[in-house]
């Protein structure tokens, strides 16, 4: 089997889930004849027809609302946001309607909202967002943000089968830049489980999505200097794999959190609090973080590169932390 891109892995997950269960349908803008703005849904219409591949007006609120209504009849819609930035247009529908239904009146909404997110491709301030924390803050939603083709496919399949609304972020920088051979046999990856990408004893680097590669690059650099970093991929932000985080902190006693999301209110702050509450005695240094700046995502390459974390920034923060 030839290695496949993350984009292709996501496409495979949709094909397989729609093949497996006719209750799975796709809905979104330009997802049929055109195959989606990034071609993730290419070929879906030909195979499954326009009853199951539903092309809509530019109406994110209506799309998410309709998908929620469909889920009440036992369908499992996969919603595509053309860019995840546009989820802001249906914020109310997601946070007030979809997310609260099970808690308030016992109405589960088994639906997935997926879409391309993240920066590094010079998409500018309205096509580069990492809005995961708006939704991690909303009880009732699950938040998935994979970093490899294997995980993207396995997690999306789990998301489709989950009884809860799942927001599935696809980092567009990774769409065609990472490749991996996938198993020929069917597999899924469970939601809510982190994975150790690299073992180490000197400090823990926690990250997810495109910053995984950045963190691994930094870890390789640190290794040359004799610093062994353990690198953990969160994969799912909600529910958060607290056990995996605490276990690694208890092992290395130092924690660096890296995310592409902006600094204030990012998941790093939440994890820092979690570790202070549960493993303060195990810490040998301050909890550090490397994040994007607290600004909109700027357009010019020089500005965006300054805005984003990179391996050098991660390595510098790790070196500082390792000195404790």
């Amino acid at each position: 089997m030839a290695p496949v891109t993350m984009l292709e892995a996501i496409r495979q997950a949709m094909f397989e889930e729609m093949d497996r269960d006719p209750a799975v349908v796709a809905i979104g803008e330009d997802i049929g004849v055109y195959g989606g703005a990034f071609k993730v849904t290419e070929g879906l219409l030909e195979r499954f027809g326009n009853e199951r591949v539903i092309e809509t007006p530019i109406s994110e609120t209506a799309i998410v609302g309709a998908a929620c209504g469909m889920s009440y009849l036992g369908l499992r819609p996969i919603v595509e946001m053309q860019f995840i930035d546009f989820i802001a247009c249906c914020f109310n529908q997601v946070t007030n309607f979809v997310a609260k239904g099970h808690y308030l009146w016992g109405a589960p909404a088994p639906m997935v909202i997926r879409g391309p997110s993240g920066g590094g491709v010079h998409g500018g301030p309205f096509h580069s967002a990492n809005p995961e924390m708006y939704f991690a803050h909303t009880p009732g939603l699950k938040i998935v943000y994979p970093s490899t083709p294997y995980d993207a496919k396995g997690l999306l399949k789990s998301a489709v089968r989950d009884n809860n609304p799942v927001l599935f972020f696809e980092h567009k920088f990774l769409y065609r830049r990472v490749k991996e051979e996938l198993p020929t046999d069917e597999y899924t990856v469970p939601l809510g489980k982190a994975v150790t990408r690299r073992e180490g004893r000197d400090l823990t680097i926690l990250s997810y999505a495109a910053m995984m590669q950045t963190s691994l690059d930094a870890a390789a650099e640190l290794e040359k200097e004799g610093i062994e970093a353990e690198v953990i991929d969160l994969r799912t932000l909600m529910p958060l794999d607290k056990e995996a985080i605490l276990a690694s902190v208890k092992k290395t006693n130092k924690l660096l959190i890296v995310h592409e999301d902006t600094r204030t209110g990012g998941i790093a702050g939440e994890i820092a609090s979690l570790v202070c509450e549960n493993a303060f005695e195990d810490l040998d240094g301050p909890i550090a973080r490397v994040t994007s700046l607290d600004t909109p995502v700027p357009y010019a390459p020089t500005l965006e590169e300054y805005f984003l974390p990179n391996a050098a920034k991660v390595a510098a923060a790790a070196r500082e932390l390792a000195r404790y």
């Binding site: 006719p22 209750a23 195979r47 609120t61 209504g69 040998d284």
Partner: protein
């Protein structure tokens, strides 16, 4: 009374239907009268929203639905809930935040639903959201072959939200079997409709989306029922959504706290003379559809039901505090299974397969645009082409461009985490970075 909106021959409204409509309107008012008393006794936990004067709309519209159909009421649609089979006790306990309420005290008012039996979707307070949701329910019902119609309500105020317009437009493009009842009760909280919408008839808003739209007297139960019955029939026949504007008047304030002193006195008097229940009693009398005994029987039935359910609600406990942290996620508590009323083979390959391409009817040029049309039969100008089953070309994945110039090796690295020696003894916390001036903090 009003003729059928589509001109087709329709059955006259039967005596039994008239008595049912009357019963539910009276029950609606009795339940709300009782809740007013509870409110004054401080037994209603939150706000109380009255549908006084709007009972004919809730009852007349919902009465046109079948048991299998779906509805999503708004705050003033207690009558619709009762028609669909909700018991007064559910409404009392909801308002009193009791553990026995449909939401076990997690939400109040008419914010509850029933997916399994009554097919009711719970409303939320943000106006307009139910329109796309019920469009989706309608689309799913059609997809599953269930032959259902969905219905929700909106006010004159709610017709200015984005969700209203996005939802109506989606319903129109999908030709969803969906009925939207627009209750034009003249007031959005304290603001008159004329300051919210610059057209007299809000049915115009539906027509703008190519949706069959009618305006009825919302205080005339028979007119509302007949329009609703015709709307449901149009949806059932596959002819797309319908908007019914029902003109009425909100006879109380926005909620109990609001004395509505902003309503002109003459306007209130005009509508007080048009109470829908009084009007309907006159109709029943004039047409000799009942007698004093029939009326007394209905009143006795309602009084007994309200009394019994009120006792149930009053004697119910508040929810246990720990319930607050339960139920955020479905963790296996629900089994989700679509109910198929058509062969799954119709929507699975090879039968589902089509050729990807658009048929664009008239190319969109100006010279082809003089089609007129009232929009009621508007079809999408473009639709995906269909090939016969099995002829579709299955594309390979090779069409996806590989744009990366330097593919990263994340996957390879991640698949074999680097093993290193055992963890050394940890240093005590708080000494600060080695060699840093001053050390420590």
């Amino acid at each position: 009374m009003s003729p059928s909106s589509n001109g087709a021959a329709v059955a006259p409204v039967t005596r039994q239907q008239c008595l049912d409509l009357y019963y539910y309107m009276r029950l609606n008012r009795a339940v709300e009268d009782q809740m007013m008393k509870l409110f004054r006794q401080n037994k209603i936990v939150g706000g109380l929203y009255s549908s006084l004067g709007q009972e004919a709309i809730s009852v007349g519209t919902a009465y046109a639905l079948e048991k299998r159909d779906w509805m999503a009421p708004m705050i003033r649609n207690i009558g619709a809930l009762l028609v669909k089979g909700v018991k007064p006790r559910d409404i009392f306990t909801q308002h009193m935040a009791k553990f026995t309420s449909p939401t076990q005290g997690k939400d109040g008012t008419s914010h509850f639903g029933d997916l399994k039996n009554l097919h009711i979707v719970s409303p939320i307070s943000m106006l307009g959201d139910l329109i796309p949701v019920m469009t989706g329910v309608a689309m799913a019902g059609r997809y599953l072959g269930q032959d259902i119609v969905t219905m929700t309500w909106i006010g004159d105020g709610g017709s200015s939200t984005g969700a209203f317009h996005e939802g109506l437009n989606l319903a129109a493009t999908q030709r969803a079997p969906f009925v939207l009842v627009l209750e034009n009760n003249q007031w959005a909280y304290s603001t008159p409709v004329s300051r919210q919408v610059p057209v007299r008839d809000l049915a115009e808003r539906g027509r703008a989306y190519g949706i069959t739209s009618v305006t009825v007297d919302g205080n005339d139960a028979i007119a509302v029922f007949e329009a609703s019955r015709a709307a449901v029939a149009q949806c059932r026949a596959g002819n797309g959504p319908v908007l019914i504007e029902a003109k009425t008047m909100r006879m109380k304030g926005h909620a109990q706290h609001d004395p509505a002193e902003y309503v002109p006195k003459a306007m209130r008097e005009y509508w007080e003379a048009r109470d829908p229940i009084v009007l309907f009693e006159k109709y029943l009398n004039a047409n000799k559809l009942w007698d004093a005994r029939a009326k007394q029987e209905i009143e006795a039935r309602i009084a007994a039901l309200v009394k019994e359910d009120l006792e149930f609600a009053e004697n119910s406990p508040m929810p246990p505090a720990e319930l607050a942290e339960q139920g955020v996620y479905c963790e296996g508590c629900h089994t989700i299974e679509a109910e198929w009323h058509r062969p799954k083979a119709e929507v699975t390959p090879p039968k589902s397969s089509v050729a990807a391409g658009w048929n664009v009817k008239d190319f969109g040029g100006i010279e082809n645009s003089a089609t007129g049309g009232n929009g009621a039969s508007a079809r999408p100008a473009a639709s995906p082409m269909h090939l016969s089953a099995g002829k579709a070309v299955q594309k390979s994945s090779g069409g996806l461009a590989q744009q990366s110039s330097s593919p990263k090796k994340l996957a390879q690295q991640s698949s074999s985490p680097k093993k290193i020696a055992a963890v050394p003894e940890r240093r005590p916390f708080g000494r600060g970075p080695k060699g840093k001036k001053g050390g420590g903090r």
